[in-house]
């Protein structure tokens, strides 16, 4: 087999297949560490805050939020777009990088896909709660009813329903199909009877037959081929929520590509935030190496730069269009009462990722962790800026107003963060965090011992 002498090994340490199984299954065995308990306690506190806020919203209605007649979309939509964007990194890693045959994805795809699923669940919560009457949530689906009325297929909000549900469903099966062989491993390594029974149920009776493997690979490849355009379509459709309206600042054709790259940008930042902690806590530093972190940082530079260019292009187009409302919307963004949010966005999204051009910074874990947090914050503010600054000063100066969230809205946001970390922490105890079979299949070409053998 050809082994590139320049590429860094993806898996460190002298490992054989059995060792790989042992290392990756280790975090699932035994009692969780004190940090796990600490993490899940914090996450549950946040979740309880969110539950309170949900109760307030459902019981008293949307009036508990800080929205007003002029600013009808606030934190709810901001959080929705932010979470969907975060979810995109998982699909990008597992689908697009699979199509490009990037071997470094094998160590990170499983946890990134889990993150995708959890993030979509968090995202989906916001449009649902925004309806106010959750009971009537099923109205968004086209179902035969006594009024003979269907849904509005011309509305981007309805496209969202289809896009997000399809995205969740397809991501779920993509993730689960990939998990089946690894669940077989968990089953065969299980020590107690109950554990064995549960994982034998979950592993769908996986045997590892050559024919199954061959077809499993075909399925994974085609699912990747389907998920790649799907992930692009999802954020495109999310951006249509804004772009197909006639609000200055929203009505731009640049939105779809700009939203998609922003989504991948924020998603990779979240993957980095999670994995830098997880690799240490779970002793998986030999699998998720600095090489992986560096590769992800390169994606961050690329997508961050695209986002930066998009911001500048928007400004240019506002001026070049000659439309005074468009020009005002952008001047108001940068220098109006919400300028602080705009400049936080610009600093976090455009300036900080450029630091990754320095190899020292992009291979430093501490620096990467800090910058990834900055990107998470910056991308949240991007959505806030787009949503709120475009709305708060509309065509009629008499209805100009300011918007700030109520405690209930803050609670809903904090609650989804709690939900995200609760589910992620449960995930690392229940499922293997790294795709065991996939790592084994690249071990020979990208492991440490083969590399050294090549040099001898």
């Amino acid at each position: 087999m050809y082994v590139s002498p320049i590429r860094e090994p993806l898996i460190r340490g002298e490992k054989n297949y059995s060792q790989v199984t042992k290392d990756i299954l280790a975090p699932m065995a035994g009692k969780p560490s004190i940090y796990w308990y600490l993490g899940i306690s914090l996450a549950l506190i946040a979740l309880v805050f969110g539950a309170w806020a949900t109760y307030q919203t459902v019981y008293y209605g949307i009036g508990t939020w800080g929205l007003n007649k002029t600013v009808g979309w606030g934190w709810g939509i901001t959080n929705f777009v932010w979470w969907v964007g975060i979810g995109h990194a998982g699909t990008f890693i597992s689908a697009i990088l699979l199509l490009f045959r990037q071997k470094w994805r094998t160590s990170i795809n499983r946890s990134a896909e889990a993150m995708t699923l959890i993030a979509i669940a968090c995202a989906g919560f916001f449009p649902l709660i925004h309806m106010g009457r959750l009971l009537l949530g099923f109205f968004i689906f086209p179902y035969p009813n006594t009024r003979a009325l269907w849904v509005n297929f011309n509305s981007p909000l309805l496209w969202d329903v289809f896009a997000i549900s399809t995205y969740f469903a397809v991501s779920l099966i993509f993730w689960y199909v990939g998990l089946i062989p690894d669940l077989g491993t968990v089953r065969d390594k299980a020590k107690t009877k109950i554990r064995k029974a549960i994982y034998s149920f979950l592993s769908f009776g996986w045997t590892g037959s050559a024919k199954h493997w061959s077809r499993h690979e075909t399925v994974s490849l085609i699912l990747a081929g389907l998920a790649a355009p799907l992930v692009l379509s999802v954020h495109t459709i999310v951006s249509f929520d804004f772009a197909t309206s006639v609000i200055p600042g929203w009505h731009t054709t640049i939105f779809p590509p700009y939203f998609v790259s922003g989504a991948v940008f924020s998603g990779f930042a979240m993957v980095l935030t999670l994995l830098i902690v997880a690799r240490k806590a779970l002793n998986l530093e030999e699998y998720i190496t600095v090489t992986h972190i560096e590769s992800m940082n390169k994606v961050i530079i690329l997508t961050g730069s695209i986002v930066g260019i998009a911001y500048i292009t928007e400004f240019f187009m506002a001026w070049y269009s000659g439309v005074e409302y468009e020009q005002y919307a952008f001047m108001n963004r940068a220098f109006g009462p919400y300028a602080w949010a705009y400049w936080i966005m610009m600093t976090c999204n455009v300036v900080t990722p450029q630091l990754f051009w320095f190899k020292k910074i992009r291979t430093s874990l501490v620096a990467t962790f800090i910058i990834s947090i900055f990107v998470n914050i910056g991308m949240w503010f991007e959505r806030f800026v787009i949503v709120v600054t475009s709305l708060h000063r509309d065509f009629l100066p008499s209805s100009w107003t300011m918007y700030s969230p109520s405690l209930v809205e803050v609670g809903l946001y904090v609650g989804t963060i709690g939900l995200f970390f609760t589910l992620f922490l449960l995930f690392i105890r229940v499922f293997p965090v790294i795709a065991i079979a996939e790592v084994k299949s690249v071990l020979k070409s990208s492991g440490d011992h083969k590399k050294t053998a090549h040099h001898e």
């Binding site: 054989n16 297949y17 059995s18 199984t21 086209p142 003979a148 009325l149 269907w150 509005n152 297929f153 011309n154 981007p156 309805l158 496209w159 289809f162 896009a163 399809t166 469903a169 397809v170 099966i173 993509f174 199909v177 089946i180 062989p181 491993t185 089953r187 065969d188 390594k189 034998s200 149920f201 979950l202 769908f204 009776g205 996986w206 045997t207 590892g208 037959s209 050559a210 024919k211 199954h212 493997w213 061959s214 077809r215 499993h216 690979e217 075909t218 399925v219 085609i222 699912l223 389907l226 998920a227 355009p229 799907l230 379509s233 459709i237 079979a437 996939e438 084994k440 299949s441 020979k444």
Partner: protein
């Protein structure tokens, strides 16, 4: 598998690949090869056909797209036409997002279900686990015994290729 067979394992995928090729050349019947991860080249050696799952995905996607498109078209022209600011009822561009999403949804689900149903895999599926270590680091071959009884020949061939743990099922 109701037949009588012999199982044996190897510790390395290259060893396995070479061995399977040799066993095939000797005219032995290989019922199955069980591995911890996909071994590339094995499908060719075992003479597997190209997967037909791609076609399932294609037709699933085609049905999804058709359902999505024609349903929307029916709703807005026949079912309950609504006038949105004088825009056309049969608005093809605005039907595209839902059509696309349904195509992807149907393609993905039809293919995955076809895969699971064809191989009888699913929650609680009853399958024979020959060796619990094949999901860890063993590469197992299952060689079928002919009616006339060629155990000796098989065992000999397996030993020559460096197989370990030779076992009969009965």
């Amino acid at each position: 598998m109701n037949k009588d067979y012999i199982t044996a394992y190897y510790n390395d995928e290259d060893e396995l690949l070479k061995a399977v090729r040799q066993l095939k050349e000797k005219g032995l019947e290989i019922l199955d090869v069980l591995t911890p991860f996909p071994v590339h080249g094995l499908d060719k050696v075992l003479g597997m056909r190209r997967s037909r799952l791609t076609r399932v995905a294609f037709w699933g996607g085609a049905v999804g797209a058709a359902v999505g498109f024609f349903f929307q078209a029916w709703v807005f022209t026949e079912g309950y036409p609504l006038n949105f600011g004088g825009k056309p009822f049969f608005a093809v561009p605005s039907f595209m997002p839902v059509t696309f999403e349904l195509a992807v949804l149907f393609a993905a689900f039809s293919m995955v279900f076809a895969f699971l149903i064809y191989f009888k895999l699913g929650p609680g599926a009853k399958t024979v686990i020959h060796d619990e270590r094949i999901t860890d680091d063993r590469f197992l071959v299952v060689v079928g015994i002919r009616k006339e009884g060629n155990q000796q020949e098989i065992e000999q061939a397996l030993k020559e290729t460096g197989a370990e743990g030779i076992k009969h099922n009965a």
